[in-house]
Symmetry: D5
Subunit: 165 residues, 10 copies
Amino acid sequence: MVGRGKEDLPEITQLGNQGTKYSFEYDPGVLETFENNHPTRDYFVKFNTPEFTTLCPITGQPDFATVYISYIPDVKMVESKSLKLYLFSFRNHGDFHEDAMNIIVNDLVELMDPRYIEVWGKFTPRGGISIDPYVNYGKPGTKYEKMAEQRLLYHDMYPETITNR
Amino acid sequence: MVGRGKEDLPEITQLGNQGTKYSFEYDPGVLETFENNHPTRDYFVKFNTPEFTTLCPITGQPDFATVYISYIPDVKMVESKSLKLYLFSFRNHGDFHEDAMNIIVNDLVELMDPRYIEVWGKFTPRGGISIDPYVNYGKPGTKYEKMAEQRLLYHDMYPETITNR
Amino acid sequence: MVGRGKEDLPEITQLGNQGTKYSFEYDPGVLETFENNHPTRDYFVKFNTPEFTTLCPITGQPDFATVYISYIPDVKMVESKSLKLYLFSFRNHGDFHEDAMNIIVNDLVELMDPRYIEVWGKFTPRGGISIDPYVNYGKPGTKYEKMAEQRLLYHDMYPETITNR
Amino acid sequence: MVGRGKEDLPEITQLGNQGTKYSFEYDPGVLETFENNHPTRDYFVKFNTPEFTTLCPITGQPDFATVYISYIPDVKMVESKSLKLYLFSFRNHGDFHEDAMNIIVNDLVELMDPRYIEVWGKFTPRGGISIDPYVNYGKPGTKYEKMAEQRLLYHDMYPETITNR
Amino acid sequence: MVGRGKEDLPEITQLGNQGTKYSFEYDPGVLETFENNHPTRDYFVKFNTPEFTTLCPITGQPDFATVYISYIPDVKMVESKSLKLYLFSFRNHGDFHEDAMNIIVNDLVELMDPRYIEVWGKFTPRGGISIDPYVNYGKPGTKYEKMAEQRLLYHDMYPETITNR
Amino acid sequence: MVGRGKEDLPEITQLGNQGTKYSFEYDPGVLETFENNHPTRDYFVKFNTPEFTTLCPITGQPDFATVYISYIPDVKMVESKSLKLYLFSFRNHGDFHEDAMNIIVNDLVELMDPRYIEVWGKFTPRGGISIDPYVNYGKPGTKYEKMAEQRLLYHDMYPETITNR
Amino acid sequence: MVGRGKEDLPEITQLGNQGTKYSFEYDPGVLETFENNHPTRDYFVKFNTPEFTTLCPITGQPDFATVYISYIPDVKMVESKSLKLYLFSFRNHGDFHEDAMNIIVNDLVELMDPRYIEVWGKFTPRGGISIDPYVNYGKPGTKYEKMAEQRLLYHDMYPETITNR
Amino acid sequence: MVGRGKEDLPEITQLGNQGTKYSFEYDPGVLETFENNHPTRDYFVKFNTPEFTTLCPITGQPDFATVYISYIPDVKMVESKSLKLYLFSFRNHGDFHEDAMNIIVNDLVELMDPRYIEVWGKFTPRGGISIDPYVNYGKPGTKYEKMAEQRLLYHDMYPETITNR
Amino acid sequence: MVGRGKEDLPEITQLGNQGTKYSFEYDPGVLETFENNHPTRDYFVKFNTPEFTTLCPITGQPDFATVYISYIPDVKMVESKSLKLYLFSFRNHGDFHEDAMNIIVNDLVELMDPRYIEVWGKFTPRGGISIDPYVNYGKPGTKYEKMAEQRLLYHDMYPETITNR
Amino acid sequence: MVGRGKEDLPEITQLGNQGTKYSFEYDPGVLETFENNHPTRDYFVKFNTPEFTTLCPITGQPDFATVYISYIPDVKMVESKSLKLYLFSFRNHGDFHEDAMNIIVNDLVELMDPRYIEVWGKFTPRGGISIDPYVNYGKPGTKYEKMAEQRLLYHDMYPETITNR
Ligand SMILES: [Ca+2]
Ligand SMILES: [Ca+2]
Ligand SMILES: [Ca+2]
Ligand SMILES: [Ca+2]
Ligand SMILES: [Ca+2]
Ligand SMILES: [Ca+2]
Ligand SMILES: [Ca+2]
Ligand SMILES: [Ca+2]
Ligand SMILES: [Ca+2]
Ligand SMILES: [Ca+2]
Ligand SMILES: [Ca+2]
Ligand SMILES: [Ca+2]
Ligand SMILES: [Ca+2]
Ligand SMILES: [Ca+2]
Ligand SMILES: [Ca+2]
Ligand SMILES: [Ca+2]
């Protein structure tokens, strides 16, 4: 039998839940996982999250980004609705763009202990300049650590065309 | 003489068949193959299938994806009309996005025993997040197994721009 | 002498102000105006604001839109930094998409008494559907009232292509 | 006071509801409305629904379309989650493309009695040809009836470029 | 009861027919119609046909075009599979681009007696120049005749960007 | 009988001619016509010519443009290969952009006596500025003269985005 | 004889001039004209100038815009190199976006006395908002005055998609 | 002296030939070559051929593709007009997409004995699925054989977005 | 505790400062840094700066570019508002495009002593040609020096399409 | 002191020169160089030249291409205005596309003795086929020779989409 149903996923509490609470405080505790059904295989899962917003720690003004999160699961996988709530918790929170992307990597590594993960934030401009931090991680002492190094080596050799419009 | 005609392909029953039946039950049994005429050569065949739809196993709501399937044939090749019927059989069926892509790889490996295969699903967003699983496979113990590892290593270093519009 | 300097604009308090405060409460009171230097001419000013976010009044989940505001000034013109603060004040506030766009028109009419104004919000999808309300207004009893009617008549006859990606 | 909350909308039963049921039978009865808060104003609301799918009544094969629905409300407005459920109910249902778009107009006119409405379906190709029906309606005996005629007169004078890829 | 099934459409012989014959001779006789179920309403149906090919009557070389056909039905509607066969019949046939588009209009008027129809062919370049004929028609003595005149008056005021690549 | 063959077009000497001579002198005399087979109908023919080049009369440097030519034929129609030779004859010739577009209109009016014609040149930039002249013409004393006036009135209200890249 | 050479244009001093001086002071005096050779015809000339920059009068920070200038000449036409020098003279100059576009219209009307002119500036964002003023003018008491009014009435009904990236 | 003229190319019989005959039978014999003038250098030549059409061997329906052919010449190079005639000869011929691309490689290898060659066909969809075969070849026993293997290893890791529209 | 506030960043003087002074003299002294909070990790930060302008040292005419700056920080990181002021200081300054990009690399290496940095300038055309210099640097004697060499080796193998429009 | 002025560049005679002469004869002698100020560093300079035109040596008809030239300088660098004059000298000259690109490489190697250079010409189609030659070169006996080989190995694995429109 392929596939899995609701009854197989008691640990998933947010997906399909009517009473979802959105926390306005930065809160990695909302993240939930489910089990990887294909652990003998290395494969990628990517989340496209174009609705990320936070506040500038110096000026208090809102910042917006599209954040791309891509990982190779080991035993645990992050559930997407809980990931949404986690990202929401940056909404009224202040951080430098570079720090925010590092924190997301740290939290997801802590949560899932993935084989490999990378996070790329592409922010909208302030004063004519936009900032795009890219952070990655491979499990130390494994081939995935080398993978992280290799992907950083060839990262973004074709910067997308930016016109600020 | 180049090319082949209807009479050379008795094993193809769906292509050009007026009475096609669409199964609403997940059914890998509808898949059909024909013989590879160029087995001494390594080459790629890609299917672009932007009309894939399934159901969320938790909420029952419909999910939509474009699925890209690419493989190097060995002896057998999947016939495209039967592939269409197979993908149709997910229509009223529920699975996590990550599981569905793994299952398609498993079924096509079982069917064709290809040298190499990869499947990339790009789903539409729910709650502002979209999920794109990528799964690949190379025949164990061959150079294609290394090929799979190498392609995973450099997978998707340029995530496409996603705006949810 | 063309142009105008800081000293000509004492009523502008937000632009260039280091101590900007961002209100998390819906607050039309932050809006500021400056005088139209070309009142004998009918001309358009458009604001492109792709960083609009609010909350769903029913589910509390965040909503995102690009809002296009276009108007023909009469005596007063809205200053763009104060407009930014005003739009920010919807950040933690809940409204139906259709209501939010009507409210923005009402507030800007109240503020500037423009000859003509229109507001078009283009939201990101929820559950596969996105909503784009368009509201316009022409000063009652003037030719601009007819202008509003005429522009509504021919509004959006070429809907942009939407794929949710 | 601007905006409205959950308590003001008892007639909305689907939005935010955990136990949503998706009907596989064509069912206009799932449609729900809420009251227009700005009835003195003519304004447009557009729904972009790129996840519409139905079945061919002759061959049984799946059809896919992006459907654009745009209307000027009178007293009632259609709630978007219920619209989603309604469109879902075409999933296992068969109709000619031209008929499906006419039916959607008929059902939404029956539901909301809008001042004006238009529906444009853009289907994916079969055999190298795609079909895009466009249907509109203005309340008979009003200026909106003329509006419908006028919009049809100038409909789609710039067909989008189609390459089937 | 909405929709219609196979049994309601005995006059449709090509759609879903396994034994389709493609005629290499120009043949308007393959065109088939079905009845318009919504004759009290004026609405548009558009066919996008990017796979049109014919031969140059002078040089014999192949020509390729995307042809856009858009019409308001009266009593009869052209069935899309038969339209495909009709367009196929130009495959080994020679005509000037301008003549071919006029012929398609003539044949479809003869077939369906539509209220309004227009055909726009966009050909690929020869020697650095491409040709795009646009032909329309409104039923003589009706408002649709004026419609045709009006649409021609405002035809293609924004020529698409062509680079020949 | 539809279509026409080589034997019906003795006046066409350039199309399909192996010994084509390209004149480097501005030469409207190379233009050839053939007869309009559908003179009772008003219809448009457009030529897309992205390979137009001339010389600056002041600096001698080369200029490049894409030229769009669109007309409603009366009795005569311009043959496209001869049009190509005519446009080629500007290659080593000097003119202001604005004059060149007027001259093309004048020559084609002289040649074909069309009901309506328009020519739009879109040049590449020099020193950061590009120039796009648009010239049109309707047969004096006919409704096409009014058509020209009307099309000029609404010309290019949506200038294409230009970045010089 | 078509075209004109250097000797016919003694009033043009900047085009092809090696010793061009760029004025850093706002200076409409650098503008030069040449005579319209086709004064009996109404036609459009458009300048695309994506390299416009100025300073904010309040903060001193640089602003950037693409400015589209489009006009129907009467007797005089603006020479493009002198237009470039004129636009350059805004480089170290401060003005509100709305004022700058009005000033350009005023200066070009003063210079050329055109039948019709319009100027559309599309600026890059500051703080997530961009401003696009559009100003037009028709010679008072002529049909071009009505043309200006008509073009304003239907101005920019399809705002371009802005993402700030 | 650089370049070469007609007199240096007696073996080229199709290019510039008025009496070109288009064969409707698959015919690799129409292919012609000329000599590589730069044989000491490895370099690529690519042909973009978006006007390829053939017939389905099972259903007889027309298929369309854009075919990209790219090679490193050795002594002989294929002449482009003869390549056009060769590709034309598939027009009324039936083959599976995968076979057609292999046959083109075989024929061009036979003709030119190139160091390296690859052919990528991108077909339009049938029933919602499109097929893109990619075949390459390097001269056996040379470094180009390894080149072929290496290019296959990294082939198409970024599938283009396909929407079927 | 994640994130950092104003009080943690006393060395940042420009960000959020009302009295920003823009220097018209080339001035690397305006650059400011803050400390890297994640020094044990290699990660990329990219700045997109589409609003770069300078003067041609020979002709004095303005030049415009989009400059992409991407680096792996070591101990210090450049603050983006100070980077903006630094880039502004090229505004009235003259340099060859190739020199300007080298100078930016030199100044940022001097400022931050980064592990790796690269700068790519994409200028608008003059006389039909645009110039895009790309300069990179890796800390000598480290693996980042090899990284620079490797990235140069594979730099820009897919030049973006340039049309000068 | 950074940058360099006119006085430092006596060898540059074309840039900023009012009396530029355009040679209609193929003439590599017009090329000029200036000295590389950063010779200790390997870096790329790219020229985008979308305004290249030549004549077909067989038919005499004009050909058009966008040519991309990219190189790593050693001691000398080509000045862009002289490059423009050089490319202009192909205007009335005939060559096969493949030869023209090889000749440009040869001439620039002869002129600058660069470490590495590559030239990619992308021509417009004739008879539905376009040709894109790519030629590169690394200084023999250096690591740049291997670089050339490596870049050829991975050249153009993602052919751009070509539609001939
Ligand atoms: Ca969404
Ligand atoms: Ca998008
Ligand atoms: Ca969605
Ligand atoms: Ca989209
Ligand atoms: Ca097609
Ligand atoms: Ca061509
Ligand atoms: Ca194009
Ligand atoms: Ca330029
Ligand atoms: Ca552009
Ligand atoms: Ca900004
Ligand atoms: Ca953009
Ligand atoms: Ca299809
Ligand atoms: Ca497409
Ligand atoms: Ca240029
Ligand atoms: Ca471009
Ligand atoms: Ca194209």
